[in-house]
Structures are given as structure tokens and as C-alpha cells.
Amino acid sequence: MNYSNLVNKYRYSLILLRELVITEFKLRYQGSVLGYLWSLLKPLFLFVILYFVFVHFLKVGSDVPNWPIALLFGIVLWNFFSEITNNGVGSVVSRGDMIRKINFPKYIIVISSSVSAFINLLLNLVVLTIFIIFADVDMRWVALLTPLFILELFTFGLGLAFILSTLFVKFRDMNYIWEIITQALFYGSAVIYPLSMIADPNVGLAKLILLSPITQSIQDARWALIDPANVTAATIGSSLWMHVFPFALSVVTLAFGAWLFKKNSPYFAENI
């Protein structure tokens, strides 16, 4: 394949990606009165509920300064991850009609649904920034590392989305299974409670949980942006491989997901 062919190939992908993202965005809240505001209101309401239950009544997180902000940040990042994967599962099958009628790079479908999730994340981060400004959060230089952790979470989520959407073409139970796993991960990933709750009585368990790219990236992002009191692999003295593992897992997941998707995508049209 020569150079101009290569350019043309990606030109088509980009045109398509752009159109699919625009369409998805337009359709998402079509007909609703508040429209896009819902993508802000949803996590905010979840935050308010969790704040009252956990912070106000159960007094969770009093040892972490600015815990409510860290809680909101965690919820925003979690929503991002959950949206990439849960939208990703059905993305290929829901475009089945298109896949059967025209040949186009199928990975665009998964990427466009993850880009939509990313746009949502950006909107949510705007709200978070307002909270950060009003709260007494001490801005430090390490805050600049935050995008790195978000990128890591994105990588992991996208990799899973590739795997899940491929599996869903053949196994239509995949979306239900993933919903359940997502529920378990939500409670297991120290999103709604500070990881210190686990680390204090059981450092080993905390280290284990921090091997998950979800917990690790959320905790590291909280540590960098909100307050250094948030537990990370570094603060509880994990060994070097434990630091590297979640990053490596994210990259490997994406590589494996992309490989699996690429291998199976030529047969999507006849299997859907």
C-alpha cells in the first residue's frame, strides 16, 4: 500500500468518526427539555446522594481532606469508564444495519462511542473545576499529571470496549454479564469510599486493589489533583512491579482488544 492510499484510508475513518460522534451527541438527549445538562446533572445527583449517605450520615472519609471533592472526581472518572465500556458492548451490534450494507473500518464505531464518553467527561470536569475553585483545594504542580491517569483509564476502557463489543456479536449475554461486573467493580474499586478505609486495617488488600487500572488511576488522579492524603501505590509502599502493573495491563488490554477486534471484524456482517 502506498502513501496516498494510507492517507486516504485514514481520511475516510476520520470523516466517519466525526460524523458518528456528532450524530451520537445530537441523538443522545434529543427531545429532552434539559438536553445536554443531563450529562452534568446525572453525576451531580449521584454525588449528592452518596455525599449524604456516606459523608454526612456514615461519616466516611473524614481522614481525607476535601474528600467530597475527591468523591465527585471519582464518580466522574468512574462514569467515564462505565460509559466507555457499557456503550461499547452493544455499539457494533447496534450498527448492524450499516455493517451489512457498506464496508467501512468497524473500529470507528467503538472509538466514536468512546469519544462521546470522553466529551461527556470533559463537560463533567468543567463542573468539577468549579467545585475545586470554591473548595479549599491546594493546587500543586503534580496536578499536571492528571491527564496521564485519565489517558490510562481511557486506554483500559477502550481496550475492554473492543473486547466486549467483539464478544457481544456472538454472545448476546455479554451486556448483562458486563453490567453485573460493572456493579461489582463500582463497589470494589474504592470510588465511593476512601481507599484508606481498606488500607488501614489491611495494607495487602489495598495493594491488591491498586493493581486494577481503575482504582489505581482514580486514586492517582485524586492524589495529584485533590489531595496527597489519597492512598496510592506509592503512599502505601507497593513494590515497583505493582506500580507498573496497572499501566502495563491497560496497554496490553488495548493491544489485545484491538487485535481481537481486528481479527473478527471482517466477519461481523455475517454474524450479527
Partner: protein, 398 residues
């Protein structure tokens, strides 16, 4: 012929589909349950294409003809890269745009304008490129006043016009055209003709799948006839179309026996008292649908197929009508009286009236009468090249 001239080369292409016996085998449960069993028992292999080879040269108008289920759509999808051949190779040289269906990606919730951009993107247009031709597209589709309305409020004819209008902008070296393109009213079909003629002048390679032999003879330089997944004839369009018509010979001779009417079906519900009236403007058909079953017969559709010289030329069915989409029912020993009206565009025609009972396993034919009506008229407005759906008005009286 030099090698550079070949834009599509198909070599020994085979395509098998593995069809699971049960629909539920797509779930994880059955995958686990069936994990221990031999796969061959679970799947039936369908050989859709068996050893297909041909070359298409640059600028050629190449016809693919064959009966329903012969494998021509599978072949088209393999050429378009939508399906992968089980074995064999397809080489394409140049940008290929498939029109398996018009308006791919059209979303009913978006406006006409937004759909133009979306559909355009699938055909490889940037926003800017669409901007430049947007007015032409709208004008060609004759939809100036409707572009900001949602697509779901368009009639099917309007949707097709819009989709075709975008499609004609596609710049491709090779166009794959399925005959489903050929819809719309007479005016619009004229435009389609013009477009096809234009394509021939520009030297675009066109692969054209159709049932219509007059179109094959008029447009194609070369054609192949596919039957049961094999090419049974290849060459001159006139010869191929003769061969194609020969496939129907057994049926034809049966049909032509003077006054013979073939009628078959399961008989749960049947037609009775069929009568028709043919005026200058309309063809009116009246009939009863009578239940012969002790239980309610549900999900009934009526199909109206119009034949001319034993070729299906047009038709319509109740399932496309509002309120009849899921079919109608007759309770035990009930008689329902229907009146169907068609505009009069027919020449010499015979008509087949079919009553279908749909259920989960597919379509059961309760009653089929062929031909239900047969006569000649002097009107020679017969629609040929393009399949059209006839406007049908359908009422029930008591």
C-alpha cells in the same frame, strides 16, 4: 486485454454460511451447553457460492443476474468487502462504492440535512465537500422545503430521493449497484436512467445486479448468470438474458396452458368471491378472506403481484400499510370483505393474488391463486426497468 485494465478480479471464490439450527445458539448458555458436542451436528453448511471466477475491465458495465436465492447478493457483498470469501480471492483496483441499499446510516430522528452529512460521510465526503454540493443534492431530490424536518416525517419516496441524490454525488472508480436502487415514481426513474447513461460516458466501472433483462440488454456490456451459487453462463447480455429466461421455462409452460389456474396453500384461510373492476383510472379488486379453521388465524398478509409476460413487474402488499403491518386476523369461520384499489398503469398483465400466513417458522401460504385475474388492456404504460411499489389503497367493508 492487458492486466492493468482489470479493475476487479474474482478467482475461485467460495462462500459457505454456517447456519445454526436454533436461534438461541447465540447466547452464552447454549454455547456452554453445546461446548462438549461436535460442532458439525449443530450447524448446517450452506454453500452460497461455489467456485466463482471472472474479471471485470475498466469502464465496463457488468451485469450479474440470477434468480432469488441464487447467490448474487452474496457475491455483491463479497465484492463490496462486506463478506469475506471462505476461499478464493477478490482483487479490487480503485475506489469502490457499493449501493446495496440507499441511504445507509440514515437515522429517522435526524433532520434531512443532518442525514445528508451522515450518509455523505459513509460515502467518503467531508463536511466541506458536502457543503459545496449541498444545494445541488437538495435540488436534485426536490426536497427544498423539507430539509429541516426529521427524516421520520418523510414519505418513503422522499427518503429514497434524498438518498439517491446523495449517492449520485459519490465519486468512485467502481460502483456496485443493487437493483433495490430502482424505486420511486416514474419521474424519478427517469432521473435514474439519466444517471446511468451519464455513468457510462464517464467511464466508471459499474457492476449491476438485477432481475430486469431489458435493463441488462440496454446497459450491460457483459453479464454473468448465477444459479445455485455457480456461474452457468457468462458473456453477451442478450445471450445471458435468454439463458436467464430459460430458467423459468417449466413454470412458463405450465402457466400458459389455456385457462389453467394454479392454486395451492394450507387452507386455514382462503380467498372467496374474487371480482375486479378495471376503469380508466383504477383497478379495483374485491374479495373475501374466509377462515376455514377452528382457531383464530393471525398474522395474515395479502400480497398482490403483477406479472407481464410471466415476469414479475410490480406489486404491493398489505404488510406495508398502516395498521396492517403486523398482519390481520380472522376468527373461526369469519368472513372479511376487502377492497383493494390500484392506479391504472398497466398494459397487458396477469395478476397473482397471494394470501400469506406468517408465523415464527417463516411464511406459510394459506392460499395462493395464480393468476387470480388475467386480461388485456390497451394501456401500454407498463413499468419495466425499475421495480416500483404501486400505491395501494385498502379498505374493509361489512
Amino acid at each position: 486485454m492487458s492486466k492493468d485494465d482489470v479493475v476487479i478480479s474474482v478467482k475461485n471464490v467460495k462462500k459457505d454460511f454456517y447456519l445454526p439450527h436454533e436461534k438461541s445458539s447465540k447466547s452464552l448458555k447454549s454455547a456452554i451447553i453445546n461446548a462438549g458436542r461436535k460442532k458439525n451436528k449443530e450447524l448446517t453448511t450452506q454453500h452460497a457460492l461455489k467456485d466463482i471466477s471472472f474479471d471485470i475491465k475498466k469502464g465496463e458495465f457488468f451485469g450479474i443476474v440470477g434468480r432469488n436465492g441464487s447467490g448474487k447478493s452474496t457475491l455483491l457483498k463479497i465484492l463490496a468487502g462486506i463478506y469475506q470469501p471462505t476461499s478464493g480471492k477478490v482483487k479490487t483496483n480503485g475506489k469502490l462504492v457499493p449501493f446495496i441499499e440507499l441511504g445507509v446510516g440514515f437515522n429517522p430522528e435526524l433532520s434531512g440535512r443532518e442525514n445528508v452529512y451522515l450518509n455523505g460521510a459513509l460515502l467518503g465526503f467531508t463536511r466541506k465537500e458536502i457543503d459545496a454540493v449541498y444545494n445541488d443534492i437538495v435540488e436534485f431530490a426536490e426536497l427544498e422545503r423539507f430539509m429541516d424536518q426529521k427524516l421520520k416525517n418523510y414519505s418513503s419516496g422522499m427518503q429514497v430521493r434524498l438518498a439517491f441524490s446523495v449517492a449520485t454525488r459519490a465519486r468512485a472508480d467502481i460502483l456496485l449497484v443493487d437493483e433495490v436502487l430502482a424505486v420511486g415514481d416514474a419521474d424519478f426513474q427517469k432521473k435514474c436512467y439519466e444517471y446511468f447513461k451519464g455513468l457510462k460516458k464517464t467511464g466508471t466501472t459499474v457492476i449491476f445486479v438485477t432481475h430486469d433483462m431489458s435493463a441488462v440488454k440496454e446497459y450491460c456490456d457483459r453479464a454473468v448468470l448465477i444459479e445455485n451459487g455457480k456461474i452457468i453462463h457468462q458473456g453477451k447480455p442478450s445471450v445471458v438474458s435468454d439463458e436467464y429466461l430459460k430458467l423459468f421455462m417449466p413454470n412458463t409452460s405450465e402457466m400458459n396452458k389455456e385457462g389453467e389456474v394454479s392454486r395451492f396453500g394450507t387452507g386455514e384461510a382462503i380467498f372467496e368471491n374474487i371480482s375486479h373492476l378495471y376503469t380508466k383510472e383504477k383497478l379495483i379488486i374485491e374479495f373475501d378472506v374466509v377462515s376455514k379453521s377452528d382457531t383464530t388465524v393471525d398474522g395474515l398478509n395479502i400480497g398482490f403481484d403483477f406479472y407481464s409476460d410471466d415476469q414479475l413487474v410490480t406489486g404491493n402488499g398489505t404488510k406495508y400499510l398502516d395498521g396492517y403491518g403486523k398482519g390481520f386476523s380472522v376468527s373461526p369461520h369469519q368472513k372479511r370483505h376487502f377492497i383493494a384499489e390500484f392506479p391504472n398503469n398497466f398494459g397487458n398483465f396477469s395478476m397473482e393474488l397471494t394470501l400469506n400466513l406468517r408465523n415464527k417458522g417463516g411464511i406459510n401460504i394459506c392460499d395462493e391463486i395464480k393468476p387470480a385475474i388475467k386480461f388485456q388492456s390497451n394501456n401500454s404504460h407498463l413499468v419495466r426497468f425499475f421495480r416500483v411499489t404501486l400505491p395501494l389503497s385498502f379498505t374493509e367493508t361489512h
